[in-house]
């Protein structure tokens, strides 16, 4: 029960963070990516702020399963840079630059019930299934 309440809280805090930092506004994100235009560096501060908190925390707690609310820690164990990582990241970047939405802000923006963001989320989910089909 405590775990479930905390997960809900973490989602809310994440959503608040995306809203406070205007990541939920695609035009703001495009402003960051448009470095050859009039550049808005704000998004760098969002990532910086998040890493500033998460990096020391994850470093301290990564091996201390007895200190956390779950018995097992599931961290990604892949180490090598492979073709799927490279191609996937480039594909994602093209989509991100085309609209200004990445998955987190897109999900959060469902709250605004804006038809554009709902269309984006539906297309993104279709993309998940398409790549699953390609894999199988």
């Amino acid at each position: 029960m405590v775990q479930k309440i905390l997960v809900l809280i973490s989602g809310v805090v994440f959503g608040l963070g995306l809203t406070i930092s205007s990541m939920t506004n695609p035009a703001k994100v495009i402003g960051f990516l448009d470095i050859f235009g009039v550049w808005d560096p704000s998004l760098g501060f969002v990532m910086g702020g998040a890493i500033l908190i998460a990096a020391p925390f994850l470093y301290i707690f990564k091996n201390k399963s007895h200190l956390i609310l779950t018995s097992k820690i599931e961290l990604p164990n892949k180490k090598n840079v492979n073709t799927s990582l490279v191609l996937g990241a480039i594909t994602f970047g093209i989509g991100w630059g085309a609209v200004g939405f990445c998955p987190g802000p897109a999900i959060s923006s469902i709250a605004l019930l804006n038809p554009f963001s709902l269309l984006f989320v539906a297309s993104m989910i279709a993309g998940f299934y398409i790549s699953q089909l390609i894999n199988n």
């Binding site: 973490s10 994440f14 608040l16 969002v46 990241a89 200004g100 959060s108 279709a126």
Partner: protein
Amino acid sequence: MISVDTINFTPFSSLFGGIFIGVAVCIFFISTGRLAGVSGIVNNALTKSHNLFVNSLFLLGLILGPLLFMFFSQNSISFQVTSSIPLIIIGGLLVGIGTKISSGCTSGHGVCGISRFSIRSIVATILFMLAAIITVLVLKLIGIN
């Protein structure tokens, strides 16, 4: 060569929002032992029954965040999409396919992965940032966006 947009630049609210995201990653980690990468959580919620309830709770929270912000601040949230409908559909498909193939997005690779000093995530973040910057430039040059 680079000119900074001093009108729209919001260093304080962006840093503050980023700190919230960092705190959220920490809370998610101590409660689940997993990293809060949004594309992975959406994927798992759609395709796996394992952790379905917990994943759905996190996604529900993501949607509640902006609603609580509007409720308590009494402010609306500025929201502007500059892309056409076909571009939104193509962009959404590419974001879905790309994050699935590379196992992460801005939160998974860009925040959680870099926080763990993962080489894979650092490479992924540099690549998707570069690809996005070039895409914005190209779309602007050909007059689409």
